[in-house]
């Protein structure tokens, strides 16, 4: 069973990985129902300068079910904005707009 998976992995996308841009991600996005990775920073693309802690809708998209802050290797947010996002999330947690943890 594990062998099967290995052969599939080695076949089509050996050169893919991180170097491939958003276009390649779109092409094999459907593979095995994985969460499609977005390699661009949402805040840079949409030109959001100030990540407001009161904007629950925006912030919630970076908080997975468990309630932890999504790492930037998953979300693709740039370092600058990840730092700003972190403060925003922590502030929002303090006033119970987003959860600290969810069971």
């Amino acid at each position: 069973m594990s062998e099967d998976r290995d052969s599939r992995g080695g076949g089509g996308r050996s050169g893919g990985g991180k170097g491939a841009g958003a276009g390649a991600a779109g092409k094999d996005g459907a593979r095995r129902g994985f969460f499609r990775r977005r390699r661009v920073c949402k805040f840079c693309v949409e030109k959001i300068d100030y990540i407001n802690y009161k904007d629950v809708k925006l912030i919630a998209s970076f908080i997975p079910e468990r309630g932890k802050i999504q790492p930037r290797r998953i979300s693709g947010v740039c370092a600058l904005h990840q730092r700003a996002l972190q403060t925003a999330i922590k502030r929002a947690r303090q006033i119970a707009l987003v959860p600290y943890v969810t069971e």
Partner: protein, 156 residues
């Protein structure tokens, strides 16, 4: 003058708290702010909201946001006062002026760069109405998955 700063104060009261109690609280805040020579720029009542987690026995709360201009010593006093009130179940005061200034600067920088680029290409500095509309249509690449709230994403 370095003492003029902007703060955002948010406090949460229980959902069953009355209008009078909220008004009373607001005047209390206002007197503290006045004593320090500050001003309240605006007050926003968000109304009843579900809390993301339980605070004490509360699952819901009334959120009130106050934007305050004034010196830094004001926050310590506000903090002390608000902690005394039973009616306030949670409060937070954050300084926002420096962050907003940074945001404004980067917006201005981007605007300037864009204008320069456009002038170089022989276009008017500001995008026209039709151009902007076309851009918005092109930009619609949202994949939906990121925009949903928590608890709705089952595929993880």
């Amino acid at each position: 003058m370095s003492t003029n700063r902007q703060y955002e104060l948010i406090y949460i009261t229980p959902p069953e708290s009355t209008e009078e109690a909220l008004a009373e609280l607001h005047t209390q805040v206002a007197t503290v702010v006045e004593k320090f020579g500050g001003t309240i720029e605006k007050t926003e009542n968000w109304g009843r909201r579900r809390l993301a987690y339980e605070i004490g026995k509360h699952r819901e709360g009334v959120y009130v946001l106050e934007v305050i201009n004034g010196p830094g010593a004001l926050t310590a006093e506000l903090d002390r006062r608000l902690r005394v009130f039973d009616i306030v179940i949670r409060h937070m005061c954050v300084r926002v002026d420096d962050e907003l200034a940074v945001a404004e600067r980067s917006l201005a920088r981007r605007k300037g760069a864009q204008a320069k680029r456009r002038v170089r290409r022989g276009l008017p500095p500001e995008p026209t109405e039709t151009e902007r509309k076309r851009r918005e249509d092109d930009d619609d690449d949202s994949d939906g998955g990121m925009e949903r709230g928590f608890g709705e994403r089952g595929d993880r």
